[in-house]
Symmetry: C2
Subunit: 271 residues, 2 copies
């Protein structure tokens, strides 16, 4: 079991930012990353559809004999995690919402926290709930910023367009003339770290910006360690599965993983 790979799942390539954090925290592990690119985006779909897709993806990864599962997609975590945990008992399953909420609560002084995410994640309210569970005095404001997904996928994550979109979404929450503004901003979608420059320009230098990639990777390391499932030697590997065009996965994925991906490294699978 210890030698088995870890499964990582996302609706597309955004979760590669989480995979990157995982390989940094767990350099000896093998990873199987599944991006459901044929059916993305999840962020605008109904909860029933997202839960069904997430469960199919989790079951597909089980066939690779994974010893643990990371749901590296905020929308799938916010909607599908209970359904997945209900069906899959024998291996640990980690989502990105709880680690993201933890990071936010640790970063915020005032307890006034803003969350940006896809339309579906915001509507489900999972971040808002998880933050208030951890910190009862928290005051959470939430804003869907759906267009950030398309900007990141298109490679338009910096420059004047990204900056004007960021201002459009964030300026009303972080107005300098407001008596109180959030002191912390949670990037509640794995695509959003790509846009951090534009987001920073819109919210100003004081706001703490947190995302769940690093915290999720840390949680995964601790959990595997506690269960005696962590590898301690050897060089880890990563293989990629996609439900649509392997060329597009390689091309857009490279930007998120911050290293080139060869289309030959990506396998086309059907869910």
């Amino acid at each position: 079991m210890k030698e088995s790979p870890i499964g990582v799942f996302d609706s597309g390539v955004g979760g590669l930012t989480v995979l990157k954090a995982l390989t940094a925290q767990l350099p000896h592990e093998d990873f199987v990353y599944l991006g459901d690119t044929a059916r993305l985006p999840y962020g605008t779909k109904s909860p029933e559809t997202v839960a069904r897709y997430a469960l199919q993806a989790a079951q597909a990864l089980l066939e690779y004999g994974v010893k643990g599962l990371v749901i590296a997609c905020n929308t799938a975590s916010s909607v599908g995690l209970p359904a997945i945990r209900e069906r899959i008992h024998d291996i640990p399953v980690i989502g990105v919402i709880e680690p993201g909420a933890e990071a936010a609560c640790a970063a915020s002084k005032s307890g006034h926290i803003a969350v940006i995410a896809t339309e579906r994640t915001i509507r489900e309210g999972a971040y808002q709930e998880a933050i208030v569970q951890l910190r009862h005095d928290a005051r959470v404001v939430a804003q869907p910023t759906q267009l950030f997904v398309a900007l990141a996928e298109e490679g338009l994550h910096q420059g004047p367009i990204a900056e004007s979109v960021a201002r459009h979404y964030l300026a009303p929450m972080f107005r300098p003339d407001r008596s109180t503004s959030p002191d912390t901003l949670v990037l509640g979608c794995t695509h959003f770290p790509m846009l951090v420059g534009a987001i920073r320009a819109a919210v100003g230098p004081e706001v703490r910006i947190v995302d769940s990639a690093a915290t999720t990777a840390k949680s995964a390391r601790e959990l595997l360690g506690r269960q005696g499932l962590a590898r301690t030697a050897g060089e880890g590997t990563a293989r990629f599965l996609a439900t649509d065009s392997v060329e597009r996965f390689a091309r857009t994925g490279g930007r998120f993983l911050e290293r080139p991906i060869d289309p030959a490294e990506v396998e086309l699978v059907d869910l």
Copy 2:
């Protein structure tokens, strides 16, 4: 047969711009509109996936006893039309590419024509081919403008963001210092008519902007007339089918159809 409805298919709500043109040209007809909202966007998917989805949608509409089929999605038309026509013989099937190419050739004086569309439509080259078939002297330039889709779906189709995205994509093709520039621009995606204000600002007042909605509707009217399938009296109706959230379909669809859609008018179907 004459009393049967006409099936209209799109990946989402964009095709409602075509439905609007169809109801104007064919006011006595009943329409069944299917938006495959669970699996949109098609524009970034592989040709095999798009063809498979388009065929599933066409077959779903056949179950409603349709007397004709309009593929109101440029991506599905450019990739899926041959596969659909191969399987469905007994009713007429119309796509939007040929009518769009006709409109472009009729509008252009110089024969220098620009096409903007989704990534997949541009890569398939169906517009470029259809234009050159109709007009051998044509010189076609093509540019994917994927972000327009998300802007239209988000309701950000006008204002400074839409304008800066339009400039980003179009300014290189329509530079005033170029000795020759296209005199005609084809909006090769049903979402794009929503952005016509921003597009006009980017290309200047001289360029003829054409889309395939009106021409497709005219083709459909002529074809039904020739085949003796057109209704000549009675008030037409429209019913809507969507593969995901009926609320979202109603909310975003209303903008494209330019009339409110009640969620109760929309039926959830699985393909």
